[in-house]
Subunit: 212 residues, 2 copies
């Protein structure tokens, strides 16, 4: 059978499972080191201060680095190692859901493996997909990977504090995004200083209103 | 049949084909935006000044950005788009070899698709594999992807000018490399200013002496 079809069915089941607990799930995608974990680290305190209970799944090929960082936030977290695969799939996420206290979570972040290609074809059952790119990857990163941007509702362009140092034109990146995927909302951030996180949360909660 | 076995056989044929023309092939791997193209852009003039004739294959999922940059170097270049795959394979490279003037090339760079996972399992037939990581990917990038470092003879740690800005400890990255793959030679670079390129070329030519 077609593995993408099997994955799509399991993703659908995950989504039903999440909705039965009133959970809004956010898939965080993007290249290696773009700032996916930092986005969760910066967003969590703001969401908690607004009364939301946050949980997370930390996906990686290997190791517990991200898992340990997210545990420090004091939220329920599960570590998911794929071993060799360059993307999470709905089956792995299904198992992780059984290890989380779903009755104590309103918003669940799922950090995918750092990769701009394969995760696109494997939806996990989340309500919204966020892709995080950093300016340090070069200003051609968006036009080189059109597929993933078309699958995501929000595109965080991170590390804007370093744009000059890598000689990258951020406006050019936003234009590329408009051409490739006009529906996707661009949010510019410097996650090291927490800049742009408010706008990210605003857009996220607007989508949550619409889907739940 | 096993696709990895088929790929291994085709890679072997590529290698024989290259050696029959006296070509030393260098596979450039690494994450998206790590500096793979820039490494070729910086290395080519130094190699040409030492009398070597250089050629290149520019691998990407989509587009001609890298191909156009390498063409500006005045060397023979072929563009290879994978369409959906997140890695080049020996079959694609086999076709590209037929489009290059092999009798006019001594050193061939093959820039792989930006990805730290899948390219590891698909050798292309080159004599040496170089992985380029940048400090902006975070200081955990090496310990998170042990497989690829064990397959590469040289590890370029690039963008060291930005280490402070991303709060990354470069010595820590070099230590991780020593633990994971003691044979792999670390070379620190700031490719924007061309720093470290001389050392990279030195190590590359030493390997070439041994294999050709
Ligand atoms: N200067 C600067 N550094 C940043 C910013 N965001 C993240 N970083 C740094 O970038 C590196 C990677 O950040 P992470 O949050 O680990 O990125 P990630 O996408 O989760 O990485 P992986 O899970 O390994 O793919 C770290 O060294 C951070 O300190 C930013 O906006 N500005
Ligand atoms: N500050 C700084 N910027 C660098 C350095 N090396 C590369 N860059 C910048 O990093 C970005 C990416 O460089 P590329 O050479 O395109 O990287 P790549 O690995 O070929 O990228 P892809 O082929 O898209 O995966 C560009 O904006 C470069 O200007 C460096 O050592 N220091
Ligand atoms: Mg992370
Ligand atoms: Mg490139």
């Amino acid at each position: 059978t077609d593995i993408l079809e099997v994955n799509r069915r399991e993703a659908e089941e995950n989504r039903k499972h999440l909705e039965s607990h009133g959970i809004f799930a956010v898939d965080i995608l993007g290249a290696i080191g773009s700032g996916k974990t930092m986005l969760i680290e910066r967003s969590t305190p703001l969401l908690v201060s607004q009364g939301f209970r946050v949980g997370a799944i930390a996906g990686d090929v290997y190791g517990e680095d991200d898992f340990q960082r997210l545990k420090k936030l004091g939220i329920p977290v599960v570590n998911l190692n794929t071993g060799k695969e360059c993307h999470l799939d709905a089956h792995l996420v299904h198992h992780a859901l059984h290890e989380l206290p779903l009755d104590k979570i309103d918003i669940l972040f799922v950090e995918n493996v750092g990769n701009m290609i394969c995760p696109t074809d494997f939806p996990l059952g989340s309500h919204v997909r966020v892709v995080v790119v950093s300016v340090t990857e070069g200003d051609d990163v968006i036009r080189k990977h059109p597929m993933i941007f078309r699958e995501c509702q929000i595109c965080v362009i991170n590390k804007i504090d370093l744009a000059e140092a890598v000689e990258v034109n951020v406006e050019r990146m936003v234009e590329d995004l408009k051409i490739i995927s006009p529906e996707t909302i661009p949010v510019l951030t410097n996650l090291k200083e927490g800049e742009g996180v408010g706008k990210f949360i605003e857009n996220l909660l607007e989508i949550r209103e619409k889907v739940l």
